[in-house]
Symmetry: C2
Subunit: 377 residues, 2 copies
């Protein structure tokens, strides 16, 4: 762990920091009270990463009224232009991408500009893709404002826009210069969205760190209460785990696939219900319980550990069952892209051997899958 | 030289090869009779780079009737889809980019697909940018069909599309898996376009290799006659020089700027005349003569060497003067983005110290520039 991501306690500032180690593309993540309540502190934090005199902030209509002024105040006398997009996944499109490009060129931004993504995953993914391709790549900084984007999309360099034919079909791997995760933004996050972010946090415990999972169990009430010490810790540890996995496999050749634990089931659920009915994290929560049950059948995960996963997710106000969602086993198999032919062939799932340890299994038995689906559908 | 690009003589196959050394992104360039006259040979050459079962060829309406069948014949039983764009720089746009993305998704290409750019610089730049960003990056192979794209745009990983606000404003650095430069395509190239490609070849001699420059002088008649031995040599040596420069500076931080020798003047000429009146290589030819004259004034290039440059370009049927083009010195200074204020400040040019050696000078004297412009305008 220590060679891929190290945590530094800077308690006096109420900020934790860690490094995503990717050689010359390494970058720091700052977590805690990074300065939304104090523009001078935010300015000091941003300063080392602002090399030129131009900044463009990409944000959306929901976030701008809440935090735009704080960020603008921290940018001093630079040329600061703001592109405000509507809120929603449907705007993570080539159309918005083109609009941002037009905007940057109209405002005469050059190769030395720095883009700041102020928002959740949609803003971050879109802004990152613009940064990756504006004049063949410019600097960018992430200021994620949701729990999900703080623990997931701001680590790993995946940038993209959607296409009618599929999510994230157009994009690039491109790393930010730095990430500033201010936990104060979590105070105003709606309950469902907050819980959905916690699903990914639990995932990091399951796939990589049994001690962290135990810590989450012990601190579940504090998490539900959004206590600051707990928020800072889960964001830092989640980023460390993701950073460690990504450092081993930046461009998703193999190992990085373990981050998809619970996602094969989760994506199928989202697809069948229609995107939007469940939040991504909610579908992943159910998917992780299903993957745990499959792991009990297939890869020897203790039944007790499978039950711990289910219980923790429930404590965090996340759904853990398909009951009431009118889904059946055959439709699930279809939605996972596993028709009879594929099922007879290679069936790949991320399965757990024990708490904190998962692997990609490429020959999951059909009977184990059917048994799991029968239990849930 | 030997540590950045090595030439291997494979005379029996009539193919030379060299490697662009960029660590894990290194790739080979094959030059000569790579197989346009023999699909089996081309198939053998391509095979190691085609990892999946899907291929998409991006080409244009001029090139397709000439060479598409040869390339298709070399691809065997794979799924091969062809996107044919109109010919011309105006189609190097986000609009065409979007069309290609739609096309690939409609034909259900996945992350294991391989794109083949069959055409000149426009096709190569556009296809490369699609490859860089389709599903966050897929394999691509360049088959350049003009002299300019064989010696310039297929080396170095610059991919892009234009924007109404400027050329190459949207793009990425992305390297191909391999480049196949078949010299037979040069037989049918129009004279002006062929000569324009030679301008960049001469540039490599000036900026990096005095012996190569002398070789070009000695073989000028053979070059005009497009003799095969000469074509194979100039393409190979040009790619070696560009590869060496790019290997030192993949993302254009400094050293790579020497590739712009003659281009500051050249771009200004293109801009003032309107794009299209002179070919890029023709404007660069005039620009290189101007830069040589500036170098005599500013950096001690021998007058005799400046004259050699002018004479060689003339022998290759390239323009070397602004006479008759109705350009004046003030307009040139304007077009170079150097208004009075900039002229009084930092004036950056690539200047030659001697044949085969250039550098970026950041404090060119105004008087030297004015003297050069007065001589030409």
């Amino acid at each position: 762990m220590s060679n891929t991501a190290g945590s530094t306690d800077t308690t006096s500032l109420n900020v934790e920091s860690l490094t995503v180690s990717l050689g010359e593309r390494s970058y720091p993540i700052f977590v805690g009270d990074v300065g939304f309540s104090d523009p001078a502190k935010l300015a000091e934090g941003l300063a080392p990463y602002l090399k030129g005199n131009q900044v463009a902030i990409i944000t959306n209509e929901t976030i701008a009224p809440l935090y735009l002024q704080q960020v603008q105040s921290a940018l001093g006398n630079r040329q600061v232009d703001v592109f405000q997009m509507p809120d929603g996944e449907s705007y993570k499109s080539l159309d918005t991408y083109t609009q941002v490009m037009d905007f940057l060129l109209e405002k005469k931004h050059n190769r030395s500009t720095c883009l700041i993504a102020l928002g959740g995953g949609v803003v971050g993914d879109l802004c990152g893709f613009v940064a990756a391709t504006f004049q063949r790549g410019v600097d960018f900084i992430q200021i994620p404002t949701t729990l999900l984007s703080q623990v997931d999309s701001s680590v790993g360099g995946k940038t993209a826009v959607n296409h009618p034919a599929g999510k994230n079909m157009i994009g690039a791997f491109y790393q930010p210069l730095a990430v500033f995760a201010d936990i104060s933004v979590l105070e105003t996050l709606p309950d469902r969205e907050y819980a959905a972010g916690l699903a990914e946090v639990v995932k990091y415990g399951i796939i990589y760190d049994a001690d962290f999972f135990a810590w989450l169990e012990a601190n579940a009430p504090a998490l539900v209460q959004r206590e600051k010490y707990a928020l800072t810790h889960i964001i830092t540890r989640s980023c460390e785990v993701k950073a460690a996995v990504v450092s081993e496999d930046e461009r998703e050749g193999g190992r990085r696939a373990i981050l998809n634990y619970g996602h094969t089931f989760g994506h199928a659920i989202e697809k069948l219900l229609g995107y939007g009915r469940l939040l991504h994290g909610e579908a992943v929560s159910i998917g992780m319980v299903m993957a745990a049950r499959l792991s009990v059948e297939f890869s020897g995960l203790a039944l007790a550990d499978s039950q711990r996963i289910e219980k923790l997710l429930q404590q965090l106000n996340l759904p853990v069952t398909l009951k009431g969602l009118e889904l059946n086993a055959e439709a699930m198999i279809d939605a996972m892209g596993m028709d009879k032919k594929v099922v007879d062939g290679e069936l790949r799932f991320v399965v757990a051997d024990q708490m904190g340890s998962v692997r990609v299994a490429s020959h999951v038995s059909v009977s184990a899958l059917e048994k799991t689906l029968a239990e849930f559908c």
